[in-house]
């Protein structure tokens, strides 16, 4: 396959690395969660892209239809998306609670406050 044929994979890797970089490099707890969301969405792409076939029909047995798209990846990723939503909600809830407890959502300030506590 050509480089262009791997476009989906390139996009996957780009999202993956961007998301991971944000999680590591940013100190803001909400921005980290944004990075985490990007990171997770790379998986959605990884699964869904091979599910599409050029000229494929929906996976219903019918006369004349020979090539059909695999529906399973979409179902799997629907589950993964729901998991992503749940993770984001828990993460944001924790960020709110941290803000209330520490008065900040910057990682270095939180670490400094923890050091102060001993």
């Amino acid at each position: 396959m050509t480089t262009l044929g791997h476009l989906g994979y390139w996009a996957t890797v780009a999202l993956l690395m961007t998301g991971l970089y944000i999680v590591i490099a940013r100190g803001h707890l909400v921005k980290k969660l944004v990075g985490l969301g990007l990171f997770q969405s790379s998986v959605y792409l990884l699964y869904i892209v091979p599910g599409k076939l050029v000229g494929g029909t929906s996976p219903i047995v019918d006369q004349g239809a020979r090539v059909y798209s695999n529906p399973l990846p979409h179902v799997l990723i629907l589950t993964a998306i729901v998991v992503g939503v749940a993770t984001l909600a828990v993460g944001l809830a924790l960020a709110v609670r941290i803000r209330e407890a520490y008065g900040t959502v910057e990682e270095d300030e939180i670490l400094a406050a923890d050091d102060h506590d001993g």
């Binding site: 629907l78 729901v82 909600a89 944001l92 809830a93 709110v96 209330e100």
Partner: protein, 144 residues
């Protein structure tokens, strides 16, 4: 509460349509795109719109906190109940084939109740998340 009359009138028109659309998405889910998850999100979105326009207190009066929490648990129980029903009727867990005399009809019956459970739980969870975040750090009767 938002006092803009256009927003109030438009949302009053929109919310019933959104709810009806949610029911369409729910019950058409077997035949077309849709299903319990999408329907649950649309129901929750309609309620969130209500809360944004008419205030959190009004939304909480309409769908109180205890009801939301019950919905979250009830939906899971309905889903799991379909699974256990399959067990009790002599099949495996989540066995739809034994839910009716005709296996194909049993399939339909099984997926119908599963989707009902999903819709209840998802709309409950979405509302719960909204309530928890929106209600944080302010009194219940949010005056503008």
């Amino acid at each position: 509460m938002n006092r803009d009359i256009i927003l109030r009138v438009v949302s009053k028109l929109l919310i019933p349509i959104a709810l009806i659309f949610a029911l369409y998405v729910q019950f058409h889910g077997e035949l077309g795109p849709g299903g319990g998850f999408q329907a649950g999100v649309i129901i929750a979105a309609a309620m969130v719109l209500h809360a944004l326009i008419f205030g959190l207190a009004a939304a909480r009066a309409l769908v109180p906190e205890w009801l939301v929490e019950t919905m979250v648990a009830l939906g899971v129980l309905v889903y799991a109940g379909v699974g256990v029903a399959g067990l009790l009727l002599g099949g495996n867990f989540l066995d739809y084939f034994v839910l009716a005399r005709d296996p194909a009809y049993g399939q339909m019956r099984g997926i119908f109740w599963v989707e009902v459970g999903v819709a209840i739980s998802v709309s409950g969870v979405m509302l719960k998340i909204f309530y928890v975040f929106a209600g944080r750090g302010r009194a219940l009767d949010d005056k503008p």
